[in-house]
Amino acid sequence: MNAPTLNLADLGLASLLLLINVILSWSFRLHLERSIGLAAMRMVVQLGAVGLILKLVFEQASGALTAALAMVMVAAAGWEVMSSQQHRFAKRWLHWGLGTTTLLIAGTAGTLYAALAIIGPEPWWTPQVLLPILGMVLGNTLTGVSLVLDTLTETAKRERGAIEAKLALGLSRFDAMHEVLARALRIGLMPVMNSMAVAGIVWLPGMMTGQILSGTDPMEAAKYQIMIMFVLSGATALGIVIAGIGGVWMLTDRRHRLRLERLNGLTHPSNRPV
């Protein structure tokens, strides 16, 4: 069976559900009507654009175009990591560079491993395979990397006294920051561990839902989802380790000093509207 296609009227019906949000906002005076509307519009425009772009890339079946779109996705994910931090590095390119480099390595490694070693499409860069997997890998790694960097900078700031006491006693920067880094890595691993633990019970993964709706055999969809979960856990682990070590590197210097003044701690962009 194939899922019936959706037309504009169907989407209009779906969008009526947004009224629940608006009514909620009105009746409790949350003043969120504007934000809800903007967020919904962004979502429609972004997903519509992605649909169009993917259609174009799939039709062209060009390796160069696939690579270009992949790079845009990595850069956007790197930007998202940076803008979700409570404490940014004063040199913006440094922060953006850390997030983007991390996602580039983890995203490339995870996606290529899934595509080349496991799925094996022909040609190997088939955009229908590479781009959705890259998207999922980036989305998950991004969450982990954001959490790691946020926890690392926040904990380093709070534990400044203890870190400097260790440094003063002659410990190296990685020894002095070991507990801070371990805490950050543990928190960074939590989302992917949780989603593995509850996958299928509490929550049916989006990709699996989509495959089943479009007519794939549920067992096949489950196998794909299992493979994806492993790829996501590996890529996230790789990403958070790179981000964590890179973060310690940037918060300290060659003479094993803690350099918290490199952080620009006063901005709180996490409060920005969606």
């Binding site: 534990e159 006294g161 006491a165 440094l167 003063a168 006693l169 002659g170 000093r257």
Partner: protein, 225 residues
């Protein structure tokens, strides 16, 4: 033993001075005059211009970790990361030295194993002094080591500092206590808004500890930069 050559810290004139083995230099000055920053810069915990030599070796010749093993900064507000004091020092020679030094500072044996949250500010301060001495650094930079202590604990801590000096270490001491400076200093460094100057120790000779008092080569350089 410890030679500071044109140490440059933002907002302070460049400083040059020398502390020989078995000597104590006291740094005095109002709050905010940069006493702590000088100690931190000597320990290489903050970036600073100029050169610092220990027994002829410039600090850049040593790794930062090795430098801080020999040149120890003891902060005014100690920080802890484990539950009790004992966990902060490796067991073995250092651990037993930590225990002995704590006892000599008037702290009971069992204190090392109590949760640090149960101890008083003064007890934690003395424990941090004992912790800093547990691996026998060559130079000790004390930042108000008796700031939160009563008279008896202060006397014991001063006795320990005197012992460190007598056994050939170089000590740099930041203190607000004029009488204490008089009791311990061979040399004094006075910090002020625009009047950083050095002077020989001026205390009653009876309070001065014995030991070679060499001429203070502290001099002011680069003033008005």
């Amino acid at each position: 033993m410890l030679r500071i050559d044109r140490l440059t810290i933002p907002g302070l004139p460049a400083l040059s001075f020398e502390v020989a083995a078995g000597e104590c230099l006291c740094i005095e000055g109002p709050s905010g005059s940069g006493k702590t920053r000088i100690l931190r810069a000597i320990a290489d915990l903050d970036p600073a211009g100029g050169q610092v030599f220990l027994e002829g070796a410039e600090r850049a010749e040593l790794s930062a970790t090795e430098w801080r093993r020999r040149v120890r900064y003891v902060a005014a507000e100690p920080a802890w990361w484990a539950d009790n004091a004992r966990q902060h020092v490796k067991s073995g020679i250092g651990g037993s030295r930590f225990e002995r030094t704590s006892v000599s500072l008037g702290l009971a044996h069992g204190l090392l194993d109590l949760p640090l949250t149960q101890l008083s500010t003064g007890e934690r301060l003395r424990l941090s002094v004992a912790r800093a001495l547990s691996d026998e650094p060559r130079v000790i930079l004390f930042d108000e080591p008796t700031g939160a202590l009563d008279a008896q604990a202060t006397a014991l801590t001063e006795e320990l500092i005197r012992f460190q000096i007598l056994t050939g270490r170089a000590v740099v001491l930041v203190s607000h206590d004029v009488a204490q400076v008089g009791r311990l200093a061979h040399h004094r460094l006075l910090l002020g808004a625009a009047t950083t100057s050095t002077a020989p120790a001026s205390a009653d000779p009876a309070h001065r500890i014995t030991g070679a008092v060499s001429a203070l080569r502290a001099k002011l350089s680069g003033q008005g930069q």
